[in-house]
């Protein structure tokens, strides 16, 4: 059965990511580290604005541009996934090294994003990925509809 809520936060991811960044030649700057550590504490995708606000609340102000720069670097290293679920705003979440991941349901009424996972779906996609003429690196499944609170 697909569970609505999935993995808990993975502080190990943050360490892993910081190491990979260092290996890639990046220095340990304060802004980037703050973004990485925040992402490591999240269960689901955050927008750049979410990240900026969370960090501001914990007195670790980071300029919006730095948030975007960090996210871009992390995405280049395949440490985060960028996902676009509509509303014109990108969201980012840690990409776990073991390939364990989830997908998202988006309420088109209130914008809520809820993660879910489904092994059978993963199997279908993996099988499919081997058959197509693309080198498939990632995949996203987005279910659009109405959440429990928004349907009448």
């Amino acid at each position: 059965m697909a569970r609505a809520h999935v993995h808990t936060s993975q502080p190990e991811w943050a360490e892993h990511a910081l190491e990979r960044l260092q290996d890639a030649g990046y220095r340990r700057g304060g802004a980037r580290s703050a973004v990485v550590e925040l992402l490591g504490r999240q269960d689901c995708a955050l927008s750049a604005q979410d990240i900026e606000e969370h960090l501001r609340r914990e007195d670790r102000r980071v300029a919006r541009a730095s948030v975007y720069r960090a996210l871009e670097q992390l995405a280049d290293l395949r440490l985060v996934t960028k996902l676009e679920v509509g509303q014109g705003t990108a969201r980012y979440e840690p990409l776990l090294p073991d390939g364990d991941h989830h997908h998202h349901m988006v309420c088109d009424a209130c914008g809520t994003v809820v993660p879910f996972e489904d092994p059978e779906l993963e199997k279908s996609i993996e099988a499919l990925s081997r058959r197509v003429s693309f080198d498939v690196a990632e995949h996203d499944v987005v279910l659009h509809g109405a959440c429990k609170d928004c349907r009448e």
Copy 2:
């Protein structure tokens, strides 16, 4: 086997859409009709800019704002699907009444979008949709990676 290319254009869709628009109380304006007719001739998703350019080339200039307005109305009536595959640009394609549809592979290097379809994947998603706590109205699957031309 998942085919790379899918349905051919469906002029019937354009008629259908124009009727549904009329039923919904919309008048038969020139700009909206042009957008609908163009979409009916497409095999895959177009961006608003694509649409504007195609129409300009065939001497049927439509203001960008009118394109967006038409697309929004069509999406509200569930006649088109809006899909976001990254690059910050939304794409739109006809939503076929019989539920037949495809998904997309996106080349993150060159931006090419290629449609594919896979019945097994559809089955997984349908089964899943019945199990979750959402009223699922639509779903999108996006495979990210490198197309044949872009992989080294």
